[in-house]
Amino acid sequence: MNDYEVIHEKSPTFYGHFERKGELQQQTHYCPGCGHGVAHKLIAESLAELGLQDRAILVSPVGCSVFAYYYFDVGNVQVAHGRAPAAATALKRAHPDSIVMSYQGDGDLAAIGTAEIVHAANRGENICVFFINNAVYGMTGGQMAPTSLMGQVSTTSPFGRSASNEGLPLHVCELLASLATPTYIERVALNDMKNIMKAKKAVKKALQTQKDGGGFSLVELLSPCPTIMKMDPIVARKWVGETLVKAFPLGVYRDHKPDLPPNPKVPHKTVAEALEVEVGVTDVPPTRRHHTRDLTVKIAGFGGQGILLMGQLLAEMGLREHMEVSWLPSYGPEMRSGSAHCHVTLGHERIGTPLISQPEVLVAMNELSLHKFAPSVASGGLILYNHTQLPEGFSAPQARVVCVPASEIADKLGSAKVANVVMLAALLEETECLPSETAMAVLEATVKNPKFLELDRQALKAGCDYVDTQVEVGAVSQPDGYSY
């Protein structure tokens, strides 16, 4: 019948179908009767009504709503537990025109993320926080939340929450309303039609506040969790209205723009301005002044040998030669003497992954790394080993091994610190992947101390000379000087 018109339907802010898993792509993953779905609906509708969908960025938390990014057709970021306000701060500051929302549960916001929410509110960040309070940890299976009620039995308060043991329920709205900086704070409930409509208004108002540049807004939504509360969905909703609302009074806790003095000293610069570069495509097409070639390199040794720095230098050189580069470090918590390695990819095409499982070149700065990574070197690859000779019994039949006693050379030059630069020079000379002049240019930009810069210059030359004079010319089968 065409005499009916649609007045309520799935909001366009939701995806048409949810690609979380193969089946059930029409449904959310929430339990029947969950409050999250209603909260999602209110946010989605408000975004659509305010015309903010294309500007919106939703920060998903850890908790049941971790998958919000499967549902909302907006910009999505999923962050570590409790850190949503910090991530939202960064997003909003980096993209001032966007509408940034953090969506957090009570465990996320009021327990592990207490610091983030308090400070984001105290800075009066121009973000919206939607705080789902269901008085319990849902996803992890019913542990006590900071907002659990007095006497509430949970898996971690089996005798009921007591003031002396677990403290009193945390009232986030009241807590944040004691700060001078927030603009809008309201607590609403998702228990019946009337309150859901009030919640809709609150959500919309929070988004409008941000749209107007009003400042920090937080909407706390008291929400049912039928599964963990072991209640029928209808009973759970009644429980919210009859019990939860009594402990957490509904209402507006803050509704005025704080009168904060402007700070004229804060530089409002774009990233491009800060870096003093021009935005957009440069007129000069990327020219390759020198011969460059694609290469995957793994550099390994112990912390303190300049392993990661050597990788950075190589990557920086690639950048200067207009190559695509990636640098992926891997190291332990020790600053020195732990094992460290990094992966460097140099390419003329976009790089799919920075992780290199079969490097074309391995730089082993110690014996341990040689044994550990040599078997993974690609067939026809190259191994540069930081010693005059290979350890006894070692063989890597698939690769060519070149011994460069970089540490020894560096010691002779006067500082063991430049062993990595000696090895870098040997790498450049042996593979001819990048010119050594670029290495010097990078070093000039990196090393501030002229004494060390001179040492680096000598190290570059020494490494290059060593390969030219001491290393036998191998069986080169390919025109690029490389034996695949």
Binding site: Y4, E5, Q26, P32, D232
Partner: protein, 96 residues
Amino acid sequence: MASQPRGKVVIDPDECKGCGLCVESCPPECLVLAPELSKYGVHPARYTGQDCTGCGACFYCCPEPGAITVYRLKPPAKIVPTAVTQNAEVANEAAL
């Protein structure tokens, strides 16, 4: 036409999880949980086909983004005294 309900609800059984919140929230009590199981093994909500006012309470109480679509009867077209609409009305009447 006078007995036609003001509203209409369409519930997608593939999206309904059978929580029953819409049934409970419906002011004119025109929703029920179907006696048969959906292919996911729940009793999905169903519109009885009578008395819907198109208020939207079920829509906002339902946690699923798109399980419920609410329709409302279009208000009767205002009669504008122009020849075109009058002719259209006449044509409609004739068709009925």
